[in-house]
Amino acid sequence: MKHVFTFDPDRCCACSACMIACTDQNDINLKAGEKCFRKTYDTEVAFKEGGIYCAYLSTACMHCEDAPCIAACPVGCISKDADTGFTIYDNTNCVGCKSCAMACPFGAPRYNTEDGKMVKCDGCYIRIKNGMKPACVRACSFGALDCLTEEEYRNSGSDKACNVLIDQANLRKKEALGRWR
């Protein structure tokens, strides 16, 4: 069953429970310099015409439908899981060339300093296959992150699929902090 990650920026507060859950699930060794696959942002963006937008975001691999990283990798590390449609990888042959990072519009691939190999979010596809939600989704207390089957997504009428939720700055201007000052 194909799955879709959704994200609702109006529910997020960058509490980063998702990052902790990802770290817990994937045994990310922060001490060795490894980085969590998911990244949250609590960032203030100033608009040219005044006002500040306080962005709270959580991003990881968007599991692009036509994932450019797959074609970019010279050794074929990255592929699609046929079931979930998630972008998964086997980095045995990874040469650490960062071609995948150059292809990815979201900065999702990470490099372990120790072996120089790429790692990234695999959508917890094994959990999904076993009837569970991805670890980060499970940890989101506020319903900002979710992972739905394609069918659930269509029925939900949501427009918050991660891989389409990109050009939003405009919409959000009205919420800029300037309104209260």
């Binding site: 920026p9 990244k39 942002y41 960032t43 963006v45 608009f47 040219k48 937008y53 962005a55 975001l57 991003t59 450019p68 074609a71 970019a72 010279p74 050794v75 074929g76 042959n93 040469v95 650490g96 060339c97 960062k98 071609s99 995948c100 990072a101 150059m102 292809a103 990815c104 519009p105 979201f106 900065g107 691939p109 990470r110 490099y111 990109i166 050009d167 939003q168 700055a169 405009n170 959000r172």
Partner: protein, 423 residues
Amino acid sequence: MNKIAIIGFGAAGYCAAAEARKWDPDALIDVYTDAGRGPYNPMLTTYYVKGAIDYEAMFPFGSLDEIEERLGLCIHRNTAVTGLDAETKTICLPDGTKAAYDNILISTGASAFVPPIQGGDLPGVFKMRTAEDGVYLKKLLDGGKIRSGLVVGASWVGIKVVEDLVEQGVDCTLVDGADWAFSIAAFRQTAQRVHRDLEKKGIKLAFGQMLSHIEQEEDGRITAVMKNGRRFTADIIAICIGVRPNVAFLKDSGIAVNRGVLVDERMGTNLPGIYGAGDCCEAYEIQSGERKNIGLWFNARKQGEVAGANMAGKRKAFGGNALLNLAHYLDYDFISIGDVASCRDEDQVYEYEDDRYYIRAVRGEKLKCINMIGTGESNGVVKSLFIKYFENNQAEMDMASICHLKENGFPDSFIDFIGRDQH
């Protein structure tokens, strides 16, 4: 039944075959390759040399037999196509026979260019493109007798050969005819930082050195003699001064060829039913709106896919093609996005440097070129912003990209510079 011929079986050829098979299970797909082994990835040769991967890993799609079986192809091994009659969509084979098809893909790639100079065939002189080139260098280096190496050509291939040599402890000199490294993509200032980085690793550099010929020394070493008379002596010499698309066999075929085969968005040539993809072609580039030969693995795969789909009757287009150069070498990475040659003295320049990053960007009326060193994990974000900018410069820069760049230590002034006429 749709009869498809694919000439040349690299990444472009393979992806075209796979995609055509996906959409047309019944098509007859004939593949012509001048090699006897599966499609390989030229950029992996130097990784094979340094032992980062096995020999087999250079062939990411498997062996010819496996592929033939998996995709239901008919592969003609060791069969270099010698000519093409576009009118009748017929190809000529080395044994003089001909075969006609409904659709033909030209995916013959490019070859490393070695000028016809005296001494160019001396033992120890080599190039770096094919799996065989990789095997050759690896044997030499594994032999343990190589003490010094000279690399002619400070560009993407040359720098990878330098990396192989340095990691083996071989004393290494890098020379180039231009005034600085990566001259077709790097600003002089960017190159200065590159030079500093390379020299820190003990690499000797010399620029403005045009290769004249190569001489054999009595002690068995070889010497590259420059047009200015300077001599560089080493155990081995790599010649990495560029590639040439393999299009000679298309002479008089009626197919429009510049440096490479000229194609449209659907990878079609000027003649119906004939397509081009990969290093042998020139596709539309987003910044200039003109056709350019941009030899990248990703492009070869994507263009092959697009050609394959179109040959199977699907409409698919190749877009978002920008001038890109990425070099990952010796703990550094350098990326150039856009056309450095289009930059003028009167343009606005943005420059930023800290211990991690070097960034230099230029804009005239529009954004022109961005050079970055050390920004590896963020390269895709910047590249994609650059492409979006040219696709629609009214579009807002998206929040996720802004956040990513800010959090990864890109200064606000840079975000401002590249997003200037956006908001």
